[in-house]
Every structure is written in structure tokens, then in C-alpha cells.
Symmetry: C2
Amino acid sequence: MATLQDIVYSASINLLSAIFFLLAFAILRLQPINDRVYFPKWYLKGIRASPTHSRASVSRFVNMDFRTYIRFLNWMPAAWRMPELELIDHAGLDSVVYIRIYLMGLKIFVPITILAFAVLVPVNWTGGTLERFKDLTFSDIDKLSISNIPPGSQRFCAHVLMSYVFTFWTLYVIYKEYKTTAVMRLQFLASESRRPDQFTVLVRNVPPDPDESVAEHVEHFFCVNHPDHYLSHQVVYNANNLANLVERKKTLLNWLTYHQNKYERNPSSKPTTKTGFCGLWGTRVDAIDYYTTEIEKLTEEEDKERERVINDPNAVVPAAFVSFRTRWGAAICAQTQQTSNPTIWLTERAPEPRDVYWDNLAIPYVELTIRRLLVAVALFFLIFFFMIPIAFVQSLASIEGIEKVFPFLKPIIEMKSIKSLVQGILPGIALKIFLVLLPIILMIMSKIEGFTSLSSLDRRSAVKYHLFLLVNVFVGSIVTGTAMDQLKTFLSQSATEIPKIIGVSIPLKATFFITYIMVDGWAAIAAEILRLVPLIMFHLKNTFLVKTDQDREQAMDPGCLDFATSEPRVQFYFLLGLVYAAVTPLLLPFIIVFFAFSYTVFRHQIINVYNQKYESGAAFWPDVHMRLIIGLLIAQLLLLGLISTREAGKLTLLLVALPVLTIWFHVFCKGRFESAFVKFPLQDAMVRDTLERATDPHLNLKLYLQDAYVHPVFKDGAVERPEILSEEEDNSLVPTTRNSQKSHSKYSSDVSSGVGS
Amino acid sequence: MATLQDIVYSASINLLSAIFFLLAFAILRLQPINDRVYFPKWYLKGIRASPTHSRASVSRFVNMDFRTYIRFLNWMPAAWRMPELELIDHAGLDSVVYIRIYLMGLKIFVPITILAFAVLVPVNWTGGTLERFKDLTFSDIDKLSISNIPPGSQRFCAHVLMSYVFTFWTLYVIYKEYKTTAVMRLQFLASESRRPDQFTVLVRNVPPDPDESVAEHVEHFFCVNHPDHYLSHQVVYNANNLANLVERKKTLLNWLTYHQNKYERNPSSKPTTKTGFCGLWGTRVDAIDYYTTEIEKLTEEEDKERERVINDPNAVVPAAFVSFRTRWGAAICAQTQQTSNPTIWLTERAPEPRDVYWDNLAIPYVELTIRRLLVAVALFFLIFFFMIPIAFVQSLASIEGIEKVFPFLKPIIEMKSIKSLVQGILPGIALKIFLVLLPIILMIMSKIEGFTSLSSLDRRSAVKYHLFLLVNVFVGSIVTGTAMDQLKTFLSQSATEIPKIIGVSIPLKATFFITYIMVDGWAAIAAEILRLVPLIMFHLKNTFLVKTDQDREQAMDPGCLDFATSEPRVQFYFLLGLVYAAVTPLLLPFIIVFFAFSYTVFRHQIINVYNQKYESGAAFWPDVHMRLIIGLLIAQLLLLGLISTREAGKLTLLLVALPVLTIWFHVFCKGRFESAFVKFPLQDAMVRDTLERATDPHLNLKLYLQDAYVHPVFKDGAVERPEILSEEEDNSLVPTTRNSQKSHSKYSSDVSSGVGS
């Protein structure tokens, strides 16, 4: 068991490495050549231009102004300085609310830490159980933890009381945060400028009609059932194949540019390539010629496919984006049920155009439910049995396995020093690769589940990742053995026994988790700000592919907040903090450092680096709240289990009320706030419609919405808009959908007067 | 352990008693004097008149036509004869769908029984385990059950296979039934004539406004946010106090009539009464004078209260019934969220006027969630700890307890025969009283939860009663000991151990449940048709209270289907059937007899007797479906537990897929059908609006809806409609809400053409 000295030692090493990362970052970010790696957001905003024009040749790449190095930490106050409203404007609500999660961590844990150190640490320290057993090895950390209290002691009162205080404080903070976030979201939605998704509803599962095309059917249906509000619609083309072709062409173009650049720099040798997979096998040919002909072929194919998609009625999927005259009309259509069969004509608020996940728009209801069943079963096996394939790979990836497949490596591997190195590293590698691949696997599973927007895909993946971390990292670290073994153990244990088993091990694992926080938390955050991978990628691209400034623009990889993996990881620290708050308060300061440091780093990143792929208006907050409640429940149950083994008698019963209260609180908050994240209220829609009618009475909404929801492959500047779309829009099948706008205008004056009342 | 002979004996006794009940019913129903007890529905429909006028004096009371006695069972085919559509028209959809539950029982269990007897009974019979142990006492029933299969036998394949077949058959039947019911409901809603609730939305939690009354606030809000659709509204008065006064006055009037009748029949002695509680204590006064003055006082009080309610702005609760011009407008308002705060301006489809539970319309959100928490906790204690107060009462109600309180009874009680009788009966009485009171207690708990319609109260009480039956009757009968003991046992058992413990006891309890089915099921149904309590009550009232034919009309108590208690009981038989289908198939015929008999009896009752208090359009079906799924899951888990103790190895694993499939099936059905029971689809609303506009263009909807949602105490013919209501309706606060009906009419032609497309 680690002593306090070990922890201090480990902490200082981790602090040093973090400081090293920060120093490296401080130096690298000041070099003009890295400007596009560390400040891409400003380039994308058009505020910052390439520093290549105005400076001398050396200082184009290296910063010679040594004064700037002295203030190497000055990015921190700079990150804190931007006010929240400006930040929302600059980075979007998603990012701002995301970093508020870290701020919430501070709000929860700073008071808890102070209280815990003021009350629980003295109580534990003077408990005096561990000293009595002279032969027992124990560390100072254990003396600070609940382990030091003798069984049956009245001192457990303090822990139970503090557990109540911690719970109520946490609930209070997350209530306030839910409220604030809901208000921020509503303000954000209200203050947003006009956006296509405000007027649009995504309609899925359009039933097939033998006499009409999908477009006609949609038009008829909404003309009949939303006569006063229907404006227009856009059908969805199944352009997945086309998108693949476009993607492949882009890769080939990159290779062509690479070889052309190579040839330009060294005209003596013509670059060659092999025709096989990745240029590794096959006959050697002239690279530039090869890629040029390949691209020509692909362009031809692409044109054919594009032609097919536009003209083939089977390429239209049974889904459509239906637009309405008013936000009010769109809001009611999204929230109501259209027909008596609730599996057809499904309507929901359209995601932002860039948030649409086009591949999933056309899944029928039965298939969807089967997909979800399969993914649920697969997730279960992934979480509890993922060690089986890894163990299999590990058994293959032994020294003997390598020697069998690559006999020529035998002499090298057999060298003693290398052998031990390989033996040490190999078993871990399969696991590491799996853990790196895990978010991708989870995202694929979410895609199979059939969600239609990138933001919902991210949210679903986060749910899965959170479960995985809970079972495999949290429980897995506390109770040794694989998740499969644990599953077996827990199935054969009673409902009251499980919290006891885990609860009892909790204090023993404190040092492990402290180290975990430093290695996984602190170091990962420091690495995050250094952006090593984008740094290397940018310089590679810059060297081989970039010709023009536009190319350089494309070579930038600003990245974005990866909600699906980073949020569940943050939740893990919340869980650790809540679990250890009443057990081993010493862990709390490390959590606080993590939250403070993360907050600063991510604030810097969303200001200077990240470029969000979509803006969901903090739609993820109900999930965050839900996971906090889960963390709180786990913490309460484990404390209950722990204390029930210490002969605390009646005190245990006192703790039973906490989970009940917490679940009730969750139900309360769900009813109180959740719909703000799901539905668009009619009052707000009406206010905005009225305002717009007053400020912009001659708006041609049809024109405005015309191209909003066209598949991105049709949006490329070079490509014409498919003709059929414009045809459809002029061909108003039911003539009466026009000129009902007049009947609205007469209400506008009353509406605006009514809003004030 | 009961032998087959015991069962046959018990069955014949129960059959005989059932036949006795039926005979009694057959004779009693033919007596003209009982006509209003056994055929009240026809009186209420106005088809049947009192038989007092046309016949001779004796035959007015006793049926002398002995030929009719011969065909004493001819009510059965008569009950079956009425076709379903006519039955819906006659008794309402709720009743018809309710008896379909029994029909569904037959559909599920007849094929299962045939299969089980064809496959499982031979397999079990030849299992030959029990014969091997000569010293073991076993019965023929056990030889027919799974107990007769030796551990580790391959014969378990048959049970696993049959379990799959039974599950799939059950799922198929309940899928078909869900679908049929959904279609029936939609057709019913579509074929219904115009009803106020189609146009009306119940709005709760109207926020307080310092400048406006509730009525003005509601009018303003809906004029602004539903300008094209809002028609009118009715505020809700807190008339609970007034309703109590009216109720009390009614009781006093009854007593007055009773004494007046008594006096008329025997003018020699003036009837007297005592002024205290129930006329048991207090000074003796002249009864007629006393009640007359009491009624006068009460009438005065009532008038004052009525005045107060109408004029006091505080008597208006923050809720209202808002009516719209079209069904479409009402449908969208009910399904959408009005403001960004989802706890105010809550809208839902208005219940039918007679279905409204007026007392609960004004509960604020926070109070509502707290009430639900408290009721949930109370329900938990009621289910698991109800034995504690009963045991306490039982300890008081012992011989010694009685002797202490009523010393004068001592000599009687001490007589040996009476003593043993009292000792035998007393402990049971407290429990029996509790079980009779239970549905009332559960209904009170549902009322505290704050539901706003009688139908939802019934549904919620059914959920609670089902839970109680599951825990205390099903598990309680199988595992001996009180629910509290079981809770303790199960908390200290593992998740895999619990199905094993119960599963192993399942075959042993088969004879007990067979007896239970006969005593509780068959006998209760036979008693149901006899209607002993209403029979006695009617004749009492008829003797003492009835003066005119109108009085006799009121003395009838047709009763109604009590969904809250009878449906959970039916579910209990489904559960028994599903659990024993693969374990002891001998139980199945008893279940089938129960379902067939119940179906006939209840069909007779809804045709001739019951008068439903409300019509919810079979809104309870999702609950029925849900509970069937729960029954199926329990059956599967118990079989899994049972087979896992018989060393069946891999076969156990095969069974794990069943619960997963069942849960998935539930999710699938929920998505597919549930919204038909919750939401009113826009397409249907539009079709009905269009039709109505064509058939009845000059309908004055405002007039039609004027009085629809007035509290019943204001509806008494004698009482004037409160003036304030009519004032409000003329005082259109926002003038533009009128004359927008024109803009609709121009679409009607397109709509009707579009519906066909």
C-alpha cells in the first residue's frame, strides 16, 4: 500500500511532466510556423491571416522575440478573460456549456473538500483503529480514511451527516446548473438569427404510394393536414454511394498533388507508385500519369452516379425535410402525431443542416427496433466479454507467435534485452489498441442504431462509453478480475451484498485512483493542449501537399470537442470525487486540480482551436445530468455498503433515504427542465414569428429555405443543383397552399400586444 | 400433498356451489320484483319499463310461468348472441374491450393447453423419477409435472422447446389483440358523434398574474399563441365544499323520506331519532321535524356557498378547459408544449365531462412530484409491511382483548363451542377487512397522486393492486412467510438465486393454486352474477325509500366494471397460466374454465346490468399489455430458475434469450401502438373537421360547448348557471379571434379531395 510519501513523489513527477508539456506548448505556440496548429479557430473566422507575408524569412518560422517566452503561461489568464456571452458568440453554446461541466466540478468539489477536510479528516485521523494493530501495515492515507474508524463507533455519525450534506450540496449545484443551462439554451435559441432548421421538420418513414412519387406524396399529405402552415419540402436522395466516390476522388487528388510536388522539387526522378492496395503491391507505374487517369475515370463514374441519383426515383429515400411558413407551424408539426399509425410520417425537429447524418434517414420502423435490439445485445457482450478476443490476440502476439509468422525476426527478438521489452509491451498493446478503437466501435454501433443527427450519435456513444468506463474501469479496478468474472460474481451475490463487496474495497483503492487521476487526468489534459498529432499532421501536409493558401487552410485540422469520449471521462472523475468524498477525502484535492486545469485548457482550446462540426444548443445536458445522478447513486450505495459492514446499526438505515431522494430529484428535474432540451415551445415560436413579420415583412422564405437541406455532395460549388429539385418547387401540386399568408398578418398586431401581457 | 382425488373432490364441491349460485340467479332473475336488479341497464336505456302496471298482483312480484324455469341457463347463449358492434353501441368500448381480455385468455390458453397435454404430459408422466423413491409421498399430479423428470435428463428439451412455443404464441396473440384494440379504439373515436372533449383541452398550472384574473389570463394566452384556433374556455371552480354540502343534503333527504314513509304506513306512532352521530346518541326528537329543519339549514348554507364560489376570485382554480374551433386545433394544443417552462400551461386532451375528477385539477407541479414520492414510499410500505398493523390488530382482537373491552360478553365467549369459533374466525377477520378495504386505500393513494380523470385513477389503482397481488399473493403463496420476511430473504439472495428459490417451489404449489382458482375464481364469478349486495340494497330501498317511479329509478344500483380491482385479478390468472404452462399443465384446464365462465358472465353483465361511469375508449389497454408482458417475464425467469437447478446445463442458456426477446417485443409494441391510446392524430382530426364542415356548416360550436365542462354541482337542473360564465363568454377580450373561420372554409374542398389521395 502506497504511503503519503509515494503519493507526493508520484504527484511531483506528474506535475513535472505536466509542466514540461505546458512549457513545450508555450514554446511551440509562439512559433509562427505553428500558428495554424494552435490558433486555427481565428483563421477560420478570418480574423487571423497567414503570418507569411509581413515578416522576415526566419521569423516566418521561428519566433525571435524572446520577451514573449518569459510570459509562457500568459495563455491561461487570456483563456479566462473572454466573457461568457462573447464566448457563446465565438465558439457556440455546445462548447461553452461543455466547459461549464468542469466549472460545475469545481463548484461541487471545492466546498465539499473544505468541509471534508474540516470535519472528516480530523474524525478519521483520531479514529485510532489502525494504530492498535501494530503488525498491520498501513499508510498515512489510510489513517485519513474511513478505515481508521473502529467498527460500531459513534464517529460514523459524522460520515452519514456529511454524506447528507454532500448529497444536498451536489443536488443543489446540479439543479442550479440544469436551470442555468436551460435558460442559456432558450436564450441562445431565441437570440439566434434565422436558421433553416427553425422552419423545418424532418419527416421519416413516408409510406410508399403506388400512384405518387415520394415528393408528391409528401406535398399532398402536408397540404391536407397542415394547410395553413405548409410551405415546401426537400426530398432526400440516397447519395451515400456518390459521397463515397467524391471522398475517394479527394484522396486520389491528394496523392496526385503529393507526387506533383515531389516532381517539382526534384524534377530529375519521375515519381512512381504501385497499382495495388495503398501502393504497396502491384506493378510499378508512373505516379502522376496513374493518378491522373484514375481521377478521370472516377470523375466519369461520379458524373454517371450523380445523373442516376437525380433521375432514378428509387434513389429518393422515404424521408423529407418539410418546411413551414412559420416557426409555430414547424413546432406543432414536430411535436404532434400525424396519423393513427405511429410508425409512419414520423416528424421531429430537423437538425441543423450540417448536423444531419444522411445515411440513416431511411430506416423503416421494424428494422430500427431490430437494430436497437442487436446493438443492445452487442453492447452487453462488448462490455462484459471484450477481454475474450483481446486475450486471444494476446496469446497470438507472444514471442512465439511472432517468431512463427516472421521467422526472420527471430535473432533480433531472442536478444535478451529486446525479448524482455517485447514481453513487457506486447500483452498491453492489444488492450491499448482496443481502447483506442473503442470510441470508434461505439460510434459505429450508434450509427447502426439509426440516429439521424451527428449530435444524437455523439450523445448515444457517450452513453455507451460511460457504461463501459463504469463497468470496466471503475468496478474493474476495485474488484479485480475481468468484467466477465465480475458479472458471474455479482449474479451469484445478493442485492445487498454487492454494495458491501465494492464498498469495502473502496478505501483500499484510494491511492490507485489518486495515481490514476494524475496519469490519466492531468497528463492527458496537458497532452491535449500540446496537440501533438495535429501538429505533426499539419507539418507533414504543409510540406507535401500545400501549394496555395487555400491548401494550407485545408491542411489545418482544428478538431473539435469530442463529446462522445471526453464527457464520459469527465463523469468518471465526478464519480471518483463523489465516492471518495466521505471515504477518503484526501483524493478530493487531486480532483479539484483536474477540474481547474481542464477548465483552463478547454477554455483555451475552444477559444483558439476547436471548430465545432455542429451546434446542438447544449442538447446533451440532460445526459450529463443523468450521469451525475448515476454517480451520486453509486456513491450513496457504496457508502451504504461500506458502513453496513462496520456495525453502525441504525446509521445504515438513515442512509437508505438518500438514494430515494436522489431518484425523486432526478424525476423532478426531468419534468422541470428536460423538455426545454427536446421541444420548442409554441410561445417562443410565436414571439419570434411575430417579431420577424414586423422587422422583415417581405422575406421570401421559400427562396431562403430552397437549398438548405440538400445533401452536401450536391452542394459543392462546382456542381449544379439537381434540376428536379427546382422543378418540384415550382410545381405546386395543390394550388391553395399559397396566399394564406395574408390571414396571418392581421393577427400580428394582437400577438405582439399579447406577448407583453 | 393433495392427490388427484382430492382435486377432483374439491373441484366437484366448487362446481356444485357454482351451479347452486347459477340456479339461484336463474330463479331470482325471473322474478319481476328483481327485474331492476338484474336488468338495470335496459331501464336506464329506457327500453324496459317497470312491470308493475300490466300484470296481476301476485305476478307483479313472483314469476308464475313455470316454463321459463326450465330454460334456466338460457341467459348464457343470450349473452353470447349480441354482435360486437352492437355491443359497443350498447355498452361502450371500455366494457367490450374489457371482456375481450377474457377472450384473449381463451385464445392464449386453449392452444397452449392442447399442446401441453399432447407433448409435456406424456413426457412428464414417463419421467419416472418419483416412482424410484418408494418412500417419497407423491401424488398423480406431481407425476404429471416437471418434478417427475430426473435431473440432467434430455427430456428438459421438451420443456425448453415448449416454453419457446408458448412464448411466441402468447406474444403473437397479444400483438394481434393490441393491434385489434388500437383499430377498435380509432374506429370508435372516428365513429363517435360530436363530443365536447374532442374540441377541448384541459389546461393546468395556469401561472398567477397580478393584473388579470385566471379567466382573462387564459383567454389572452390562447388568443396569442393559438390565434387561428382558440374558441372559448371555461374556468374551474373549487366547488369541492359545495359538492360535499349537496351530498350531505341528499343523505338527509333520504332519511326524511324514510321517516315520512314510516309515518304514513303507521300513523299511530310518530317516528323519532337521536341528534348525535348516525342517530345512535343524543337527545330523542321528532324525526320528520328534525330532518326538515336540518335540510332547511343546509339549503341555506348551500346557497351561501354557491354564492361565494361564483363571486370569490379565489374560488377559481388555476386550471381551465379551453375549447378550439376545430378538432385539429385541440389536437395540436394538447400535444405541444406551450411555454419554455414545462411546469406551467400544461395541456392535455380533456377527459370526457363525466370522467373529470374535479378535486385534482389545481395541484402545482412541485406539490405533485412530492405527492408522487410520498405515495410511492407509502405503497412500498403498504406492500411489504402491511402485516404489521394487522398483526397488531389481531393481537388486540383475541379472546382476552375482547373480554377486557366488553366484560359483559365474558360468560358467552367462555362457552367452549363459541370460544373455539371466535378463536378460529377472529385472526382472519382483520386480514379480510384489510383486503376488502385495500382497493379503497389504493384508490385514495391514486387520488393523492393527483390524476385528473376517473379513468386514469382506475388505471393507477390497478397498477398498485397488481403489484400487491404479485408480491403478497403470488410470491407470498409460494414462499411462505410475510412479504417483509421475503423482502429480507430476497435482499440477501443473489439475482440468480431468487428465480431458483421461487422456481423450485412452483411445482409443489400447483394443487394450492388449482384450489385457489376454483375458490377465488369460479366462486367469485358465480357470486358476481348473483349480485347479492345490490339485490338486498335494492329491496331495502324499495321498501323504505321508494315513493314514485323516479325514486325506484334512483334506488337501482347498476354498478359498473371495477377495472381497478378486477383487471389485476384477471392478470393474476394469466400469470398462473403462463407460469404453470410448462411446469404443471394440469392447472391449465382450470384456467380455461375460469376464462370461459368469466367471459360469459361479464358479457351478460355488461349487456344487462352495468352502467359505465365514463368512457375512456379502451385507454387502459397499454396497461393490460404491459402486465401480460410482466407475467410472461416472470414465467420465463421462474422456469429458468427451476431448470437451472435440474442440471440441465446448456438448456438453461437457451432460455436466457426469451426474456430479452420479450422485453424487445414490449418496446416494439409500445412504439407501434401506444400512441394510438395517448395521442389524437392530426390526420384523423382533419378528416373529421372536414366532414363536419361539409355536413353541418352552420354549427354554433360555442353554444354547443357552452356548458360542457361545468362542475356537476352547477349542473343540477334546479340551479341557475353561474352568471359569471356567460358574462365571460360574451366579453371577447381580444377581438380578432372571431371571423377567422372564413379562412378555413376555402381549404375544405382541397382537404376532402386530398384525403382520398
